[in-house]
Each structure stands twice: as C-alpha cells, then as structure tokens.
C-alpha cells in the first residue's frame, strides 16, 4: 500500500472514534449478532483505509453505512454459499472431501466465481463452467450447447473480461 496523506488519516481516525459505537449498533440491527457486527465494523474501516476513497463525504454516517451495507450483503452471500457447500458435501465420496485448509481456499474462489456468474448471461455462464470446471474445449462445449464454436469463443471471452474487471479494476 502506498502512503496515505496525513489529513486523510486523521480524518479517518476521527471518524473511527466518533462513529464506531454507532456503526456497531447499525450493523447489529442488520446481522443480529454482536461479535459479527463488531468484526464487520472493523472491516468497514479497513475498507475505507484501503480505498483511500475520493468520495464526497457529506455525512460520515451516511458514508459509513453505505460501505457497511455492501459488507452486510457479502456476509449473507458468503453464509449462503457455505450452507450450499455443506449440503453438497453429502453428495460426494468421503475421500474427495477437502481438508479444512483446502475448504477455505475453495470457498474463497467459489465466492469470486459466484459473484462473476451473477453478471453473466445464462449461456455464457454455462459455457464458462464447462470450460473451467470440466475442462471441455470450445468445440466440445459448442456441441453440448448446440451453438457454433465461434459463439462459444465469444462467450468465454466475455466471461473472462467480466472476471478481469471484477478482479483488477478496483485496484
């Protein structure tokens, strides 16, 4: 991380001291768990530090809640994904069940993939999964989905472009 202007830091630290209890309360009313709310409040400030946002801060609480809202959604998204993962474990052989460390990496990657799939049209989504997860080639996917190979190539290019935007554009 490159250095943060001193003025920004002191503004942020002021916001932290003044609004942290309020933010925790706000988050608690959304997630219904004190510990989780405290974690998310920390995450909110970490995100502010990272973003070094040039946003117009008219009202600190409005701004904090706008960042925190995104984190609340992420929190529930992740929980839904973890539930789906646990349910899926029941359907696979025991020797294929990933270890705890593997599980974390898999869930993090699935979270990114899930977010990506959300942005894609149905056919593009399916083509991308067939290519990435099942390792099929463009001609094989084209046969399976009943469209031309060049269509699948365009679909995969679209998916990769969306993927790239999600991953690198907000640096």
């Amino acid at each position: 991380m490159s250095s943060i202007p001193r003025a920004d830091l002191s503004r942020l630290s002021l916001m932290y001291h003044e609004h942290l209890p309020w933010l925790r309360g706000w988050l608690n009313s959304r997630v219904g768990c004190r510990e989780r709310a405290a974690d998310l409040a920390q995450d909110t400030f970490v995100r502010l530090l990272k973003n070094r946002s040039s946003a117009l801060i008219q009202e600190p609480r409005a701004y904090l809640s706008s960042v925190a809202r995104g984190l609340v959604i992420d929190h529930y998204r992740r929980r839904a994904l973890e539930e789906a993962y646990l349910q899926s474990l029941a359907h696979i052989p025991e020797r294929e069940i990933p270890s705890d460390e593997e599980r974390l990496i898999i869930l993090d990657t699935l979270e990114r993939l899930d977010r990506l799939l959300d942005q894609l049209a149905p056919r593009v989504r399916e083509a991308f999964l067939l290519a990435q997860l099942d390792g099929l080639t463009c001609p094989q996917i084209a046969t399976q989905l009943g469209v031309s190979t060049s269509t699948i190539e365009r679909d995969l290019a679209k998916a990769l472009a969306a993927c790239y935007r999600l991953r690198y554009n907000d640096e």
């Binding site: 701004y63 706008s66 995104g70 990933p98 990657t109 699935l110 799939l117 959300d118 894609l120 149905p122």
Partner: protein, 319 residues
C-alpha cells in the same frame, strides 16, 4: 499496487489468446503467434500473468463439489434454460388482470414524493416504502400477503425473536409474486421490469402467471430483474439500491445521468442534466432529505452549474 493500469486493448487481446490456447486445441502456428505477442511488450506479459493467475485458481476447484455448491446457491441457474423455452407471452394477461384488480389509488398505504414510511406488515414483517410507493395489505389479501402497487419496498420477515415464520409471506407485484419465510429483500417496480435484491435469506420468485414454469430461488447477495416472462441479471449502475433505507443515495463511479434520474424520484418537478455532462462519474453518499443541497454539492465537486428555471425545474449543465 503501484503499476499503471493496463490498456483495455491489451487485456482484450490477452483474453483472445487465452481462449485460443487454453480452451481450444492450438496448433504450432498459433503458439508461435502467441509467443511473438507475449514478448512484444512488457504489458502483454503482465496482462497474461494476471489472466493466468485468475484462470489457475478456477481450474484448481474440485469440479463436482463446486458445481453442486454453485447450483445449490442458485436453483435459478437450473431453471434458466427451461424459462427461455417456455417464455411465451402469457405475461400480458397477468399484467392486465393485476392492474385491474387493484389500482394504486385503492392502496391502503402510500408514500408521497420524497417520503419514506415504515409499516408493520403481515406475519410480523416490517415493510419500508420508498418515495411515491403504494402497497395493499387489506384483508383478505393482508392476512399472509401484500401487493406492491407502485414504487419500491423493502420487506423484512422472519428476523424477529420468533425466527422464520411458519407460513410463507407472499408479495405480489405487476410481473409476478414472491414467497419467503425468512429474508430481507428489496423489490422495485421499474418501467420495464421488476428489480429484486436479496440481502438476507432466500426468496422464491414466480414469474407472471405461467403454470408449469419452475420458480426461481434468489438468495442473499443476489440481484435480479424480472418481467412476467423473462429474467435478467441486470447491470450494476454504481448506485446502491439499498441506500434509501438509510436515507441516502450512495454512488460509486456512477454516471451523473443515472444519479440525476435517481435523485429526481425524491423531488417534485423536473430535474435533468444536459447530455454533455451525463457521462461524468460521481462517487459519494448524499442525504436524500435535501436534494437541493445534493445538487449544490455536486456542482461544487464537479465542473457543473445548476439553473433553476422555477423552484421545481432544475437543469444541470457544464459550468
């Protein structure tokens, strides 16, 4: 990361190479062409490394488990093909019928321009109405259901001490109806489609009036546009759909044109911006309670001026 951003053209070319090399069987000639491109500029190698990292992560996923998890998240992904096939316009009938059954002025609760209301809904739910919105909760409808007649609402059900409700709450709208026992979600009637965002829990969506089409499940973190016979993932315009629940408009690199359209929902009269400034980008959180002050703030931060023809007719243009 302190490196300069890559040119879009470079990224697009790298993507083309990736499709040809990793997802097809490449011949020697193609590989040679790729090597040549890769070495032609350091940025090419950088773009390639980034794509390759991304790709490797996905290809390390266990296929069966991953697919099953993602599909469990979205049973709607399964329903997609089915929908495309069976989407033949029965929707219009539903639309006409729904409109006739209850017009907005027959609603029992409505909010005015710039107003927001919090109501107790059926089954212990909390209902929040955004500006210019109307719901009908009168019995017999109101026992386990409500009708969104106009505008935008947030529904929160199952969050109380009693937890998820035993009977599903039903929310009817122009283009279809929703059911849930435990969720916090937002539903907005737009001119072309209904927009649904789910913050907590799971919502089941029944499109229009089409027997035989499987319902879609939308869960936490997902956003969806639907009409009586189609669904779409929608485009993120950089404006947080949940902002108004805290009385703010939150924008992240949003088009000024979109921000102005959104802002105009909260004030009487005409608010517009000229075409030459519509593509300027705006980030920030603005209090909806005073839209004149928001305009003043925007004019202050960007090269803009606001002209008031009358109090209810404001135009934003380049200063």
């Amino acid at each position: 990361m302190s490196e300069a951003p890559l040119q879009q053209e470079t990224i697009d070319t790298a993507i083309d190479w990736m499709v040809r090399l990793k997802f097809s069987v490449a011949d020697a000639h193609t590989r040679q062409g790729f090597e040549h491109w890769l070495q032609a500029h350091p940025d090419h190698a950088r773009a390639w490394r980034r794509l390759d990292t991304m790709n490797n992560e996905f290809s390390r996923l266990p296929p069966t488990l991953s697919r099953s998890t993602l599909q469990g998240r979205f049973s709607r992904r399964d329903s997609l093909k089915l929908l495309a096939l069976s989407a033949v316009g029965c929707g219009a009938v539903w639309l006409a019928g729904n409109r006739l059954a209850s017009s907005p002025w027959m609603a029992d609760r409505r909010s005015g321009v710039g107003e927001r209301l919090a109501l107790n809904g059926p089954l212990g739910s909390r209902i929040f109405l955004n500006t210019e919105s109307a719901v009908d909760m009168r019995p017999p409808v109101g026992i386990g259901a409500l009708v969104l007649q106009q505008g935008e609402i947030i529904v929160d059900v199952g969050a109380g001490d009693s937890g998820p409700v035993t009977q599903a709450l039903e929310v009817r709208s122009r283009d279809g109806y929703l059911q849930t026992r435990d969720a916090r979600f937002l539903l907005r009637e737009k001119s072309q489609a209904m927009a649904l965002s789910v913050q907590r829990g799971v919502v089941t969506v029944f499109l229009g009036h089409q027997p035989g089409v499987s319902p879609l499940t939308v869960s936490a973190g997902q956003h969806l546009l639907f009409t009586a016979n189609s669904i779409d993932s929608g485009v993120d315009n950089g404006i947080d759909p949940w902002g108004w629940s805290d009385g703010v408009l939150s924008a992240h690199k949003a088009r000024l044109g979109d921000v102005v359209t959104e802002l105009s929902r909260y004030r009487r009269g005409i608010l517009r911006c000229t075409e030459d400034v519509a593509d300027l980008r705006v980030s920030g959180s603005f209090q909806l309670a005073d839209t004149d002050q928001v305009l003043a703030l925007l004019a202050n931060a960007l090269p803009l001026r606001v002209d008031y023809r009358t109090r209810y007719w404001a135009t934003i243009s380049h200063s």
